[in-house]
Amino acid sequence: MTKNYEVKPGFSEPSQRVKALKEAILDTTPRIEADRARLITQSYKETESLPQVLRHAKALEKILTELPVVIRDNELIIGAATVDSRSCQIFPEYGPQGLDQEFDTVATRSADPFAISEDVKKELAEIFNYWKGHTTSELATSLMSEDTKAAYNAGVFTVGNYHQGGVGHLAVNYEKVLKGGIRGVIAEVIQAIKNSDHSAPDWVEKEQYYQAALTTLKAVITFAHRYADKARELAKYTNDSTRKTELLKIAEICSKVPEYPASNFYEALQSFWFVQLIIQIEGSGHSISPGRFDQYMYSFYENDDSITQEEAQDLLDVLFVKFNDLNKLRDIGTATAFAGYQLWQNVNCGGQTKDGEDATNALSYMEIESMAHVMMSMPSLSIRVWNGTPDDFLIKACELSRLGGGQPAFYNDEEIVTAKVNRGETLEDARNYAVIGCVEPASQGKENSWCDAALFNLPKVLEIAMNNGRLNGKEFGPKTGEFEDFKTFDDFVNVYVKQMKFAVGLLVRADNAVDWAHYELGQLAFVSTLVDDCISKGKTLERGGAHYNFTGPQGIGSANIGNALMAVKKLVFDDQTLSMKELKEALDHNFGKEEGIAATSSDTAYDAIAEAVKKVLGENSSFDVKNLDLSGLSSGGTSTAVASPEKSKYQKIHDLVMAVDKYGNDKDEVDYLARFGSRVYCEELEKYATPRGGIYNAGLYPVSGNVLFGTYIKATPDGRYDKETIADGVSPTRGTDTLGPTAAANSVSKLDHFIASNGTLYNMKFSPSAVAGSEGVQRLAALIRGFFDRKGGHVQFNVIDKQTLLDAQAHPENHKDLIVRVAGYSAQFIALDKTVQDDIIARTEFDSF
């Protein structure tokens, strides 16, 4: 029996319960809690002689047995990582995440503040002391070469994400637990033990893993039973008879799942949540993405006769609110760049089945409805679109876009499936991709895509190419000649390619160092049981247990590269309006601007950058922040010394540069230069292998690192000023795409999205009037289809007017619930750092013509 879903235009109201749950979360001040940190530390002190995988498993066992169990008012789906909602636990095994330097400022910082009590500060300080010298971040730092670190510090790239924290970034096989229970997984491990040759040389390693896996699986059951007990206890004390019934029901469910298979929709949701939660208690990696939720959840809804559509919708809403109960602390640098209390839990819907049929079902629509009901920063919703996607479904999704929360994002199966096959996946596995994190497609339950491996600053490489291989004035890359001496445009392009090869080589070394640190110290037994083929191989994810392995670093600033190459080609070589020397001089003088314009003039940005750099090297005693090369951050003596008549000369050059065709206006020449500039990066990367037995797999998306990366680069030939932000993802430089959305989308589709197979990201912004009425959503749908016909990979919309955003900056207290699209995710606008807010406000807004 298929469950029908009657599609209606518009959205209904959520229930009172959903509203209350949401309210409770938004009203809580996030807090730092020390329980997890204390428990893991106690456990590690007791297990010093054991192998790491087992030590961590025993620690998780202790955590799941002793962490406070909390059931909040009104909750139907239960299970929390912290006593207070939206608060965070600490993961000292990865490093202090900058917290040791921020004890006194974390509560008041501009991006993602967390309250912290004096007791917790004291306790954590001691805990960090114990871990000193034993964390993954310190190990990774010690494995990096000097030139790698120089590139990292100067913002050529950052591998900070997995360097400072856990890896995460998975869409695991939830179905396995829903259908077979944790008992089923235990059976699978036991079967694998039976199948193994116990005298083979790898058995010792395997045995450790199996033992660790069984330890954690048992602990997961214990954790759920503790919740059952808690619910029973609360039921005893409540006078509210309705709540009592609810609590007893919760108790019954938690005694059953996830230990045993779920047998109805409610149980399946609860079982799912335990898995989702525990993965995020086990390790600190974010982007634990439910992925194809509508696919593995559907049979539980379809076969559940006890539930009406309204009840199912309400439970789904409740779960969607619950995603926001989780939170994590990041250091100020990362929080500034990637702000918004975001864990990137990405839920998907639609697309194709493994067999290539349309996958859209009732739950796909209900996910959209829940997003509209909840309108919070998590989860992210990804709509998979293929040529067979029902129009009414796409239009429903566009209606959600129009609400202005920046959700959902749209993905093109026609491009992504092909790209995944090109990376060696089977057609079935490629069709079963899930979007995780921001925009990264990974085969659900089979792939460890390591997909947020780095952010790579494409325009910075161009700057190195323009400076004979020097990085901020110091020798760095191969000596490829001074900019002034290039005789042809091809000379310049070839040098860009050479420096790219060099910089990518360093990036790979940095990523491999981090990878090795997780291999040594970061193995996670529980989550590894949920990704094929870890159990059969007897290896954790960190040791290459997954069926598919990749490392996916992102290039940022395709538009800047295209525009810069175009300006040089046109002004210097084609029209000979300028000499290389004149252009170089103008760049050195920041096009006659008095001061470098930072993304913001406030000190927070500078502090943030300094902090970000600090975190890179913080734990390694041989490095000192004082010695860091921060020259890229100062506005430089030269620009202030410029006399005013000269200034206008440079400003004139700026005018010339700005008059050259820009990427985003459907002009082939510049668009293809942008394609070339980013393709070079992708092609260079795919030549490298990862330590886990896969290849490098490039993406072109920014998270929101484009703001931070801009601060590392001086003026560039595309007309960008010193420290100005670079373009986000594959989007055009803000304000330079002037021919409307179709022209801009055409330009974007000229990039090679197939080779950027770790994901691309295109942001479009519309004023509400441009998408008004039923025709407005139809047009949005047509734009998506048209863009996808041309093999664009991803697009998302911010539908919100500038005035609202400005008002929210001025009066944050009135806009607590304003959610905007940042990059691959949505965030509470007022929680974002000002630099990021400004960047969002400045993106080109398409109105109707």
């Binding site: 459907d666 021919l739 409307g740 959305p741 179709t742 022209a743 055409n746 441009a770 025709e775 139809q778 047009r779 749908a781 047509a782 734009l783 289809r785 048209g786 863009f787 016909d789 041309r790 398409f846 109707s848 013509f849």
Partner: protein, 255 residues
């Protein structure tokens, strides 16, 4: 076999992509230069003269136009959109427009024209049957008022309107609502009563007066006769919409 003269040229003053108010779906508007009227409120005064002047207008061949409008073919295909001819008065370039219509037909894109219908009857008979949509401007019914506001009397226009009603596939009447000219119940009533004679017209668009052409008059060394008159908002037109609806038409403000 139909022949297309790709070399044919005319003066085009703008090609605007992603137009969403001039016919169904996502459209590209080709603004042709030259208009026989001189509306006081005209917000494209640079479009009135038939010659390229200053920065306004370039001679383009059918091939040039085809290359440009082709760029959004994906959007037309997916939205049921296409090409809209506007101006000036596009129908005063019948030969050129006809060639471009052929190119669109060949590519499967819909075509629309925005016209004031002040052209010879034979042009209407020749081109209107080939177009998918006609957006017909009717500015006023009393001929003297029409002459005062636009420089020409309206007998020809009204006569053409009735022919368009007979031969067009789809027709919408559009009324620019201009204070001091036709911003009154009386004038809009006249227009509705006339439109009732056009039995294929279901919808009337009311376009509120804007003054964003003002600065262009200065550039062209001309005086702007409506100086000081405030633009109308959509809300200002609500009573008139009721009136139009009272006559049994669908009414869109802006449109």
């Amino acid at each position: 076999m139909e022949t297309i003269d790709y070399e044919k040229k005319a003066c085009v003053f703008n090609i605007q992509r992603y137009s969403i108010h001039d016919g169904p779906g996502i459209r590209t508007i080709i603004f042709m230069k030259g208009c026989p009227l001189r509306c006081k409120w005209c917000f494209n005064p640079e479009s009135q003269s038939y010659k390229p002047m200053k920065d306004f207008g370039t001679m383009m061949s059918v091939q040039d136009v085809f290359d440009e409008i082709k760029k959004d073919q994906g959007a037309y295909r997916r939205s049921g959109g296409g090409i809209t001819f506007s101006g000036g008065e596009a129908l005063t370039h019948p030969d050129f427009v006809e060639e471009v219509i052929k190119v669109c037909r060949m590519s499967g894109w819909t075509t629309a024209v925005e016209t004031e219908a002040y052209v010879p009857e034979k042009t209407i008979h020749r081109l209107v049957p080939q177009l998918d949509y006609v957006l017909l401007d009717i500015k006023a019914i009393p001929s003297d008022l029409h002459k005062e506001g636009t420089g020409v009397t309206n007998e020809l226009i009204l006569q053409n309107a009735l022919i368009i009603n007979e031969i067009a596939k789809n027709v919408v009447v559009r009324v620019p609502v201009i204070p001091t000219f036709n911003y009154s119940e009386k004038q809009i009533n006249y227009i509705c009563r006339f439109a009732k004679h056009m039995n294929h017209v279901e919808t009337i668009h009311l376009l509120p007066y804007t003054d964003f052409g003002k600065s262009k008059y200065k550039m062209l060394d001309r005086t702007y006769e409506l100086e000081g008159i405030k633009p109308l908002s959509a809300d200002d037109l609500l009573p008139l919409r009721e009136l139009v609806e009272g006559h049994g038409f669908k009414c869109v403000i802006g449109g």
